[in-house]
Symmetry: C2
Subunit: 384 residues, 2 copies
């Protein structure tokens, strides 16, 4: 149940020797057709890694034959030398697979500001090209892991006979636009690159872009969608788009559950907003409030911190006509305490915050995690 | 060296029984004149506590005779009952001191969403009115402490024979506009309320508003400036404004050093910006980046996280023409690694980040703290 679940795709995950741990660190996914339509969305951070700069050019014509991904280094802020490494990696893949380097996407993840060792990447590409098979999708998913505690894969099988598969890595720096993640989604449905682009953007907007684990946006994020057409079936666009959205949401929830050091998965649902934008803006403000997140870690239903976070947004609302519930207990109504906060049980991992703005008819849910000792531990000792 | 250092002010700090700990929890500062000019700035959070709503009315005419402050409860989101408690507290002060309640500012700090006990406040006001003296300024500073580990006071003595004194509370939720703080500044200089307002706004803009300890903005912040004119001296406006700024900066740095659970004080100086606004926006983005803040806690000079935080702003810059130094070591220049990050010594408490945008001639410094285990501990167990 991963990128090779869709027909027309082969994959590999190998040890290139980039990671000091000696773990799998290079993944290769090839689309063997008959189609090679593709679409991708990239981080909106203005500081972009070399593989992002490269991949943005590759995707312009909507045609992709392979994607190579390495963990163990972000290749970001590494200057012209870093860009040459990205370019040479694509060339190595092209040469091994007999394709054009202009059809090879590159993704990297890891520490910013360190040069990658090109020789190791080339060795890895050679190994991966040898290993490509429809049964190695799981190894590819493992090779892109960084601080992830588990590999993340998913599959959607249409009763109509076509399939969407996916893999993702990410366990921190999860913030919209995109979160810190590398995602590869494959399908054997027949689709044009325009259709894929439209379906992918619609899906990421309401899935990956609504994850906000720690408010930190990465320099390397990329979500790629490739179609082989190998099923021979062309689904209705809406059907395909729904499948892409379902796969995206499934992977997004796996990223959320594995966020660094978290002990609660928090869904913040904002309803009766004047616009969807307002609902998202309020949800994000709460999701990024360290005081709120630390309180949830301490199983402390400190709802004043929720309202204080709502109050810094410019969403439409009357501060004294907002209702807040935590795990089903109405703790505040119309600017006053309602039921006792002592009734709230925060021991389960899943936490549901409901914020009713009473200003309209729109809604959105933003997902985040609590702020824990383990988060601080993991992130205070990453590069060293 | 506190609010009673300026002539014409008396103060008290007493136990009203609001805090469970039994510590001092109510402060009263009276301006005995001859002038009673005043100015105040308030939180920009749209969710405002009852004392803020009250005090905004009181300050309209620029005349203030006394300010009463309680710790142990924020009186925020407590509805009409909460507002009545604020009003009645001002009335109690007015009655005891023989002044108008319309000249009494009220401040509260503590947990949001709990009613304050009016009888305790009234008892506290009675005790404080009895205790008012020019030698009790330090007790007032202690009575406004919440999670503060030390009381914060300061004084500026002009060679011209006039004085500015101040006290502050705040140890978390430090974010601009204002940070979570209650501040009272007094002066025996002669000044109109218009002059005080202009001087105070100019000072807070570049001092308290550039503190960003955890990005969380409070519902109760208030900075108050009162002038008694008791020195008989009217300084030049610029001289007075400079003194107010100096006292504000001194108190701001004390707030920074005492921020909850911090182990580093971080100054983020952004220079060669296209505008001061750009410089502040870049500084704040870095100051709010949990990954950067956790890295500093771990003495890890992970400069990629600084650039990733710069990249999410809309300030004017070329991502590949930014220079970054940490504690004097140039770790990145023009989008490439410069000196080895291993040269950076992050063991001292003071950390200096220099970000050169190479886009103009403006600069600003934003102050923050690291994200520590102790921060999480303190803030995961506050209301319970």
């Amino acid at each position: 149940m991963t990128v090779t679940s869709a027909k027309g795709f082969v994959a590999a995950g190998v040890r290139a020797g980039i990671k000091k741990s000696g773990n799998l660190d290079l993944a290769l996914v090839q689309n063997i057709g008959p189609l090679n339509s593709a679409a991708a969305v990239f981080t909106s951070n203005r500081c972009q890694a070399n593989p992002i700069i490269w991949s943005k050019q590759v995707i312009l014509d909507g045609q992709v034959s392979a994607i190579v991904l390495n963990s163990g280094g972000a290749n970001c802020y590494t200057g012209p030398q870093g860009f040459q490494v990205t370019h040479a990696t694509a060339e190595a893949v092209a040469e091994r697979l007999g394709i054009s380097s202009g059809d090879v996407l590159v993704c990297s993840t890891g520490l910013i500001g360190e040069q990658l060792d090109l020789a190791k990447l080339q060795t890895g590409v050679a190994l991966a090209a040898e290993d490509l098979s429809a049964s190695n999708g799981q190894l590819a998913a493992e090779a892109i892991m960084t601080t992830d505690s588990v590999s993340k894969t998913t599959v959607f099988s249409s009763p109509g006979g076509w399939t969407v598969g996916g893999m993702a890595k990410g366990a921190g720096m999860l913030a919209p636009g995109l979160a810190t993640m590398l995602v590869v989604i494959t399908t054997d449905a027949i689709a044009t690159s325009e259709e894929l682009d439209q379906a992918l953007r619609a899906a990421t907007r309401v899935t990956f872009d609504r994850l906000d684990s720690d408010g930190c946006m990465s320099t390397n994020d990329q979500v790629t969608l490739m179609a082989s057409g190998a099923s021979g079936i062309k689904p209705e666009f809406d059907e395909l788009a729904a499948a892409i959205r379902e796969v995206s949401q499934s992977l997004a929830m796996k990223l959320l559950s594995d966020a660094e050091g978290s002990s609660h998965d928090i869904a913040i649902r904002v309803s009766k907003a004047a616009s969807e934008e307002d609902a998202v803006s309020v949800g994000r403000s709460v999701a990024r409030n360290n005081l709120f997140k630390a309180a949830i870690y301490g199983n402390d239903p400190n709802w004043g911190r929720i309202l204080a976070a709502v109050g810094v947004t410019d969403a439409a609302f009357d501060p004294y006509d907002i209702d807040v519930s935590i795990n089903g207990v109405s703790v505040s109504r119309k600017g006053m305490p309602d039921q006792s906060r002592d009734l709230v049980d925060l021991t389960p991992r899943a936490v549901q915050i409901e914020i009713v703005l009473n200003a309209g008819s729109h809604e959105a849910t933003v997902y985040t995690n609590d702020l824990t000792h383990e988060y601080v531990t993991e992130n205070s000792d990453y590069s060293s």
